[in-house]
Symmetry: C2
């Protein structure tokens, strides 16, 4: 037993080193590689993906996994190793059904499609992206079909990002949210809009980067275990234990966008940085539970970041870095970051209409995987759904279907995670308030680290040892429900808009 | 024949992909990896070095090299492939004499020593670095002794960085320079110093980065084939064909330092970017001729960058980015960038006393490799030699022996390249003036790209197809001589200091 386990650990470490290379290549490609170096870097990335596929499908590896999963051996493993064996054996069996050539073609198509999307978005030209998107859709369907030939493909995809939550559960939650938001949004639309003209102006991007540094320090991002870069679309990536990186993008006429992206990505990163060394090189280190992950980024971004009290301890420092803000009272800033109105871009939407942006993408993903809609029809479908759900219609594809990178790299089934994250956040907020007291007071007194400490003790330090439903049960003692989120929205925005 | 050659090309491409990974790891380590991620990244780097060693010493590879170097096959190869076979066969035979375990230990010690040096420099604590330096010295001696058991170790090291130039040649050139500079420096020391107080002040680092962008664009760095980062010590690295990167560091009280580092590294990068696609994946793509390489960086930095006419087309733009410069007449700026006076830091020295900084290092390297001086005695030796050659004595090791990274990673024998580069520059300047006309006029009229074009046609486009002595012969039609450099110094500084 000892022998197999040690062998297995060595094998995991070798795989981890290829994953480390792979993560760095992706980081470099998205943040640094110049135009003329991209093709060769993508080839290298393809080779690394192919090597990892070999590792994950090797006979020797399968034998170790089978041996370790036999009951009398399995019982003696610690929980993280049990999870590792269980999860990797399932993945191994799935990948064994995928032909290696197909897998390599799929990985390569995803990388290239990501580059094509970036160019298409920059030049607002969907035609540059459409053939790549069609290819990625086709290959994703094939991939899922290889892995789980008897299952519904979209359910398999959902499971890749949030194990244990199926579309039936999502439908229930999302329908409840759609219904619950309708009267609230109608009330807000009828209320007078705040005057935010004080915020208009040009905000120096270097100054915005200094604000980002301030915000990340404030919420508890550890720069000794992380780094920051710049990319077309903000993201967070675990390069390796001790090295968690995030990116941002900056708008000259809008400093709020980058602030909230920084807080959002910072939330992801704090989760990753909170996973302890004991879980290193086990499956529990890798949190593929994206609903849970988004619950943490969105807790910082929305639940904390959009409270007035979050800003009280730092608003003066903000004004030093962005002098224009000295003319903006905190109340106006607070109204600006909670301005609820239909808008085109998901990542810049307020937390209420944001839910509808996700529901739109969830419905389109179903149209792709259950209705066989192809790329060329997606811009129109997108725009129609925007009108239906948000009452506005994009005038360009850059503010429509091209805005997000997710589909370009085949991450279908990821989007629902964002809204699931908010649903969990409603529950976490209730529970945290019960255990720690009023978060408004905690934040106003500059004790935000107590909240981070609570999230770490309750969630981060377990990595993915428990799936989202289990985490909710352990932390909140009950089943997943959208009610706390809706209650939170109603209470907060009734006050703000005096409904 | 065709078959072996194709096999060999495939093999080179595989090695190139590992070199690509290796270059990216080094780049990341020096520009991005956070503190807590460094250990794991260094392990990965060690593994990659070990893999490359396996490639370079594989039997199969040796057989291909031997076969391709047989006369009737060799004659049919194109010049770049002939060079490749010749150079790689020599390297293969050398590395076969190095035990793999030793090689891996050596690679690992160099990476770790680099990190230790960075910390030691930052905290001005030589004791953090001394044990690493001793280890690197010992291992370098062993390494060279394995490779060439019958040769003088320091000659072997010199040959790694400038093939075909031995220490006898260097001694002649450097002695001539030492003698030639003595009266010039005495004259300058006796002349009145210019008033440069107008330049004093605080220079925003973000603004300095914008100046860097301007300078790199101006001299012809291609951002579609390159990128820029920040590190403790500026450097340039070829990541892969189409991807050449440089770094810089910035001082808040001195904008000139980063400007000239940018121009220097930009010169290296323009050389690398000028190597054509035909040479990709041959030995000619990799320019290990560091004297020749430094001749290009130093041509931009000194010969061009320290001319008044270089700045005429861009000085107004500079003032827009660094408003303090608007108060500084170009004449004052010109005097500042040509202020000749003994100083502690090589990379910030003027181009004249710079020569003595190199001679100091060259003499210390000989003390290490021929006199067996160990790390603990080096700070004292350094300081004594500073007094002897420059008449000043460092008060800290940070401004003494800790200032340069080269020895930390075992690059003994590299330093002479800088001064050899200047020697070549004196000759290139004479030749360019004969062929293109007065460079002052070319620069003043904003036609700097004609000079870059000349350097590209004469030098860059051959990569390392010819060694430095051959390049000099081809470009200037005569042997290496220090006289043109000394003439250039005398003429320029007699005018500036009215000697």
């Amino acid at each position: 037993m000892k022998n197999v386990l040690n062998q297995f650990r060595d094998y995991l470490l070798e795989m981890k080193q290829y994953q480390h290379v792979s993560a760095l290549l992706q980081w470099d490609l998205q943040t640094q590689t110049p135009e003329n170096g991209q093709e060769r870097l993508m080839e290298l990335s393809d080779r690394t993906a192919a090597r990892l596929f070999q590792y994950a499908t090797a006979e020797e590896y399968g034998r170790m996994l089978e041996e370790l999963s036999e009951p009398q051996q399995f019982e003696r493993l610690d929980p993280a190793m049990q999870l590792t064996v269980r999860r990797l054996l399932r993945e191994h069996r799935r990948l064994l059904r995928v032909p290696a050539d197909f897998y390599n073609e799929y990985a390569s198509a995803r990388t290239r499609s990501g580059r094509a999307w970036e160019k298409a978005k920059r030049s607002d030209d969907f035609s540059l992206f459409a053939p790549h998107l069609d290819k990625v859709i086709t290959l994703t369907k094939q991939y899922v079909n290889y892995m789980e030939p008897d299952a519904d493909p979209y359910e398999v995809l959902l499971g890749l990002y949030e194990e244990g939550i199926d579309s039936e559960t999502i439908n229930c939650l999302f329908d409840e949210i759609k219904d619950g938001l309708r009267p609230l949004l109608a009330g807000i639309a009828a209320a007078p809009a705040p005057d935010l003209s004080a915020l208009e102006g040009h905000y120096d991007i270097d100054a915005q980067k200094k604000v980002q540094r301030l915000l990340l320090d404030y919420i508890g991002f550890d720069f000794a275990s992380g780094a920051v870069g710049e990319s077309e679309h903000p993201f967070t990536t675990r390069i390796r234990f001790g090295d968690v990186r995030l990116t941002n993008h900056y708008l000259e006429d809008n400093p709020i966008s980058a602030m909230f992206s920084a807080i959002h990505e910072g939330g992801h990163a704090i989760f990753e940085q909170g996973i302890p060394a004991e879980l290193e090189n086990t499956a529990a280190e890798q949190v593929d539970l994206m609903g849970l992950h988004e619950s943490q980024s969105r807790f910082y971004e929305n639940i904390l970041g959009r409270k007035k009290q979050f800003w009280i301890p730092i608003y003066d420092k903000l004004g030093e870095l962005l002098p224009q803000l000295k003319q903006v009272p905190l109340d106006t800033f607070y109204r600006a970051v909670n301005l609820v109105r239909p808008s085109m871009i998901r990542t810049e939407a307020d937390e209420v209409t944001y839910c509808l942006h996700i529901i739109l993408r969830y419905e389109i993903e179903q149209a792709i995987f259950r209705g066989n809609v192809s790329a060329k029809d997606l811009p129109g479908l997108w725009n129609d759904k925007m009108e239906e759900l948000l009452g506005i219609r994009p005038q360009t594809n850059a503010e429509g279907i091209l805005q997000d990178m997710h589909w370009s790299d085949g991450s279908f089934g990821y989007f629902p995670s964002y809204l699931l994250g908010s649903v969990y956040d409603g529950m976490f907020l209730e529970q945290l308030t019960q255990e720690l007291g009023d978060p408004d007071q905690i934040l106003a007194e500059g004790r935000i680290q107590e909240i981070t400490g609570w999230l770490n003790r309750k969630i981060h330090r377990y990595g993915s040892l428990y799936n989202s439903a289990q985490v909710i049960e352990r932390v909140c003692g009950r089943e997943i429900s959208a009610k706390p989120l809706l209650d939170y929205f109603r209470k907060k925005y009734s006050e703000i808009y005096q409904l």
